[in-house]
């Protein structure tokens, strides 16, 4: 009986924590909306809102792999890339067929997420056999391969159907009425700009719902058990491959969703190092590390601070990446160095909070 009561209290604790996280997102959205509608916000900052949503989704989804599964993925931007290009491809083809923007975006979103999930499975099956440093470097490799492949893809459509080439537009051999959809390094132009701040926030909430509920379920427990001790997890009959793949695929699918948002926020979509390459993967990792590995709410807050701060303090923008680098090093040393942990426990009382169960 006492056990039941206790558990009820505990249930409430995680539910309460989740509610606070949803609340923070909704309140922040409302505040921004009011500021935007009263004209209190620069257009520069306003233009940052959708990218900010993208970063938050990416950070939360990466945290599922880094914090909950306990493996370092450096190819997260690759899944975003897959989601962006597959959905932009769809939207461009359907631009004149489906004229209802929200419906078109919704379908594009489903496609982007599904394709990214498929890539998550295809890449996850070989990659998840590795661990630690090797897993990190191979995810990086896959991310770069995806970016490279996108840059050599030429796709066009004419009255005869689709044409495909890896050389150039000329070798598509299209009829005069054909249009180029994907133009190699020039990417996809003319994607309808269907993404809005509201859609972005809704996607954040859906991402949070999926990730937080997954963590607090039987599957989430299995994933965290594998993180904490793979051998023990196997010994109690947990299917390690299945749950690793589940975490990896869900994370990839959500990153794909972020990619859909990205593609529909720009009229020209290209793949380069800064948006879909290694640099983006690292930036997202910085958000996750600053917010606290495994802390979903932390990822959100870190993404907001690190995106908005350099923009708001003019002149700081040149130092943005430098700041990221320093933040990354200091956070890691402070949180993980055995001496720093000792020092914290000795002199700082908030070190005690760590003793509560990590959910």
């Amino acid at each position: 009986m006492t056990g039941k009561m206790k558990k009820l209290k505990n249930m409430k604790k995680t539910t309460k924590s989740n509610m606070i996280t949803y609340g923070i997102v909704i309140v922040a959205f409302l505040v921004m909306q009011i500021l935007i509608s009263t004209g209190n916000i620069s257009s520069l900052l306003q233009g940052l809102m959708v990218p900010l949503c993208i970063y938050i989704i990416l950070a939360v989804s990466l945290n599922l792999v880094v914090g909950i599964l306990g493996e370092l993925s450096l190819g997260h931007a690759g899944f975003m890339c897959v989601g962006a290009f597959s959905s932009a491809f769809f939207s461009k083809c359907m631009k004149d067929v489906i004229t209802v923007a929200p419906l078109r975006f919704f379908l594009a979103l489903l496609i982007g997420i599904a394709v990214a999930a498929v890539f998550g499975i295809i890449i996850g099956i070989p990659v998840l056999r590795l661990k630690g440093d090797y897993l990190a470097i191979v995810t990086l490799a896959f991310g770069e391969i995806i970016k490279n492949l996108v840059n050599v893809m030429f796709i066009g459509v004419d009255s005869n159907g689709f044409h495909f080439s890896t050389k150039d537009v000329m070798s598509l051999n299209m009829e005069p009425d054909g249009t180029v959809i994907m133009n190699g390094p020039q990417g996809i132009t003319g994607t309808p700009r269907d993404a809005t701040f509201l859609i972005g926030v809704v996607l954040i909430l859906i991402t949070l719902f999926i990730v937080m509920n997954l963590i607090n379920s039987r599957d989430g427990r299995a994933i965290m058990a594998i993180r904490d001790n793979r051998i023990a997890a196997e010994s109690i009959g947990i299917n390690v491959t299945k749950y690793k793949l589940m975490a990896f695929t869900v994370s990839a699918a959500l990153a794909g969703g972020a990619g859909v948002l990205y593609a529909h926020n720009l009229s020209t979509l290209t793949a380069n190092t800064n948006n879909f390459g290694y640099n983006m993967s690292i930036s997202i990792l910085v958000f996750v590390v600053l917010g606290g590995i495994g802390s979903i709410r932390g990822s959100i807050i870190a993404a907001v601070i690190l995106t908005l701060l350099p923009e708001m303090l003019r002149g700081l923008n040149d130092y943005r990446m430098l700041i990221y680098a320093i933040v990354l090093i200091i956070m890691m040393l402070f949180n993980w160095a055995p001496k720093a942990i000792e020092w914290r426990e000795k002199y700082l009382s908030f070190g005690k909070r760590k003793k509560e169960a990590v959910k």
Binding site: R221, I231, I236
Partner: protein
């Protein structure tokens, strides 16, 4: 009567070293059986062979008549063998309760979708898991610490939690790898009581590795002594402990 665990001629080599050779053991239902021997004799290797961490080169393992030789760890867990580890392997960052609930993983099911959407089945099954896990924690006197992070438990309680987690899988056979290691005489006494209690109330068959002779002679009905990877002696506890060969192996010349 057929034995619950029947092992014949089990063996494995690492490189040129024959770590375990011609190992036979037969354990009856609800028996408390001890596996002893000097350090490096191959006791933990036997556990690793029984639980599928290593694949044996030779021999056969029958659990309740079912052949589990060379199967994967998770299939052996499902077949009904659970274990603890010499160097404790808990899910450090999970709560004490969640450690046991992880052990219940294959006993309670709901789909991923039901979990994410928080459908009624999710609530029902989670409640059942909570109740069952709390009951187990109570047996091991850990119910007060249910919400604590496992890493923050004192050493003796971590050992107990590991046993509780293993029992959560509802095994037919429980393997305990040095359960009393690092415990003081008081804690060891308590542990002996718990092991007896588990055997009686869960109708459990237990095979344990132990160096603490007080514990071994106190609770084990039969013993197998392993030396240099081979069985040195086997039989009733008192007989084995008085066997001159065993005494020599332990005390040296």
């Amino acid at each position: 009567m057929a034995a619950l665990l029947d092992v014949k001629n089990l063996g494995i080599s690492f490189g040129g070293l024959r770590a375990v050779n011609g190992f036979d053991i037969s354990i009856e239902k609800e028996e408390l059986y001890g596996l002893i021997g000097p350090n490096g004799a191959g006791k933990t290797t036997v556990f690793n062979l029984l639980t599928g961490v290593y694949k044996p080169d030779t021999g056969k393992v029958l659990l309740d008549g079912q052949d589990i030789t060379g199967k994967k760890t998770i299939d052996i867990s499902k077949a009904g063998i659970a274990r603890t580890f010499q160097n404790i392997r808990l899910f450090q960052k999970l709560s004490v309760l969640d450690n046991v609930k992880a052990g219940l993983h294959n006993k309670h099911h709901y789909s991923t979708i039901e979990g994410i959407l928080r459908l009624p089945n999710y609530r029902k099954v989670e409640r059942e898991m909570d109740e069952q896990a709390m009951e187990l924690l109570k047996v091991f006197n850990l119910d007060q610490e249910a919400d604590l992070t496992a890493a923050n438990l004192p050493y003796g309680k971590q050992r107990r939690l590991e046993i509780a987690r293993a029992l959560a899988t509802e095994p037919k056979l429980l393997l305990l790898d040095e359960p009393a290691a690092g415990m003081n005489p008081n804690e060891t006494g308590e542990l002996m009581e718990m092991i007896r209690f588990v055997r009686k109330n869960f109708h459990m068959t237990i095979l344990l590795i132990e160096h603490d002779m007080k514990l071994v002679s106190g609770i084990c009905e039969r013993l197998t002594v392993l030396n240099f990877g081979e069985v040195l002696a086997q039989g009733k506890t008192t007989d084995v402990l008085n066997n001159p060969q065993v005494i020599t192996a332990y005390l040296g010349e």
